[in-house]
Amino acid sequence: MSTMLSFCQWLANTPFSSGIRESTYIYPVVESVHVLSLCMFIGLLLLWDLRLLGITLRRIAVSEVWARLIPWITVGAVLMVISGLLLFASDPVRFFGNIFFRVKAVGLFLALLNALAFHLGIERRIVEWDTSAITPRAAKFAGAASIALWAAIVVTGRFVAYNWFPPLV
């Protein structure tokens, strides 16, 4: 933890960090990009998760929904990560000490874990259920878990702006 804090303190003292922090325009522009790419990334990911749940796009094969959506989901994800890292770099010590930021980080880790579990698990047998409207229980679980985790990530991400709790560092 102290290594991470040292890193945050080092980053905060770089001209890169203070440049974002002190600029009138960079922060609002980067945050707007973060919000708009959220629409693209989570909005389209939601359609994929709903297909896994057997709720939307049921007449399209699961593999095709994935193949068609993934380029756009990837664009959204890349924009989210770049803009998110820039926002973090603007004030790393404050973010590191924010309880909601830490919960969000755990949420992101769990969301990646969920995607990996799906990939290594039920996705391997996708030929058996690719075209069926009703998806297997494991696929439904992956979809529901993804929706719940990303919703929690959005909510805790928004709450980072509030200082209801004293900083942890």
Partner: protein, 157 residues
């Protein structure tokens, strides 16, 4: 408009949100979640009209699938947005240029979506794949992006 904004802030809704520690943040979080849903529901149809997603499915089929999510998220946006607006209606939003622009973009986006885009998307297949449809899709993305950017801008103004 100023009497309406003053009345709204002093209404039961405005004062309730103002007097609560967590209500504003909770509605804000809900508003952001609905934004994600609206983003997907709008974008998937616009991308289809541009021919960039689900090219083997008809535009009308994609639009029909997205429709309940579009309408549901617009309703959720109003249900969470009105309490947010009420809480600071006169002391902040009435004088906020970004809020004003957001309302113009919102009115334009809603009218354009339900009176133009949905008609093109759900209508004749040839028109739904025409250059007109592509222009409609670009316009839709621009109008909704305007709503989002101005919404974020409220906090910076």
């Amino acid at each position: 408009m100023s009497p309406f904004f003053q009345w709204l802030e002093h209404s039961w809704l405005g004062t309730s949100v103002n007097n609560s520690l967590w209500a504003f943040a909770a509605f804000e979080a809900g508003h952001l979640l609905a934004l994600a849903v609206i983003g997907g529901a709008v974008l998937v149809v616009d991308l289809r009209m541009l021919g960039w997603v689900f090219p083997r499915q008809r535009v009308a089929e994609v639009a029909t699938e997205a429709r309940p999510w579009l309408i549901g998220s617009v309703v959720a946006m109003f249900l969470t947005g009105i309490p947010l607006m009420a809480s600071l209606a006169f002391s902040k939003y009435y004088f906020n240029e970004a809020f004003r622009l957001k309302m113009y973009f919102l009115a334009a986006a809603l009218l354009f979506t339900f009176f133009v885009r949905q008609r093109v998307a759900l209508g004749d297949d040839v028109r739904a794949n025409s250059m007109v449809a592509k222009a409609v899709a670009v316009m839709s993305v621009l109008l909704w992006s305007g709503v989002g950017v101005m919404g974020r801008g409220i906090g910076f103004y």
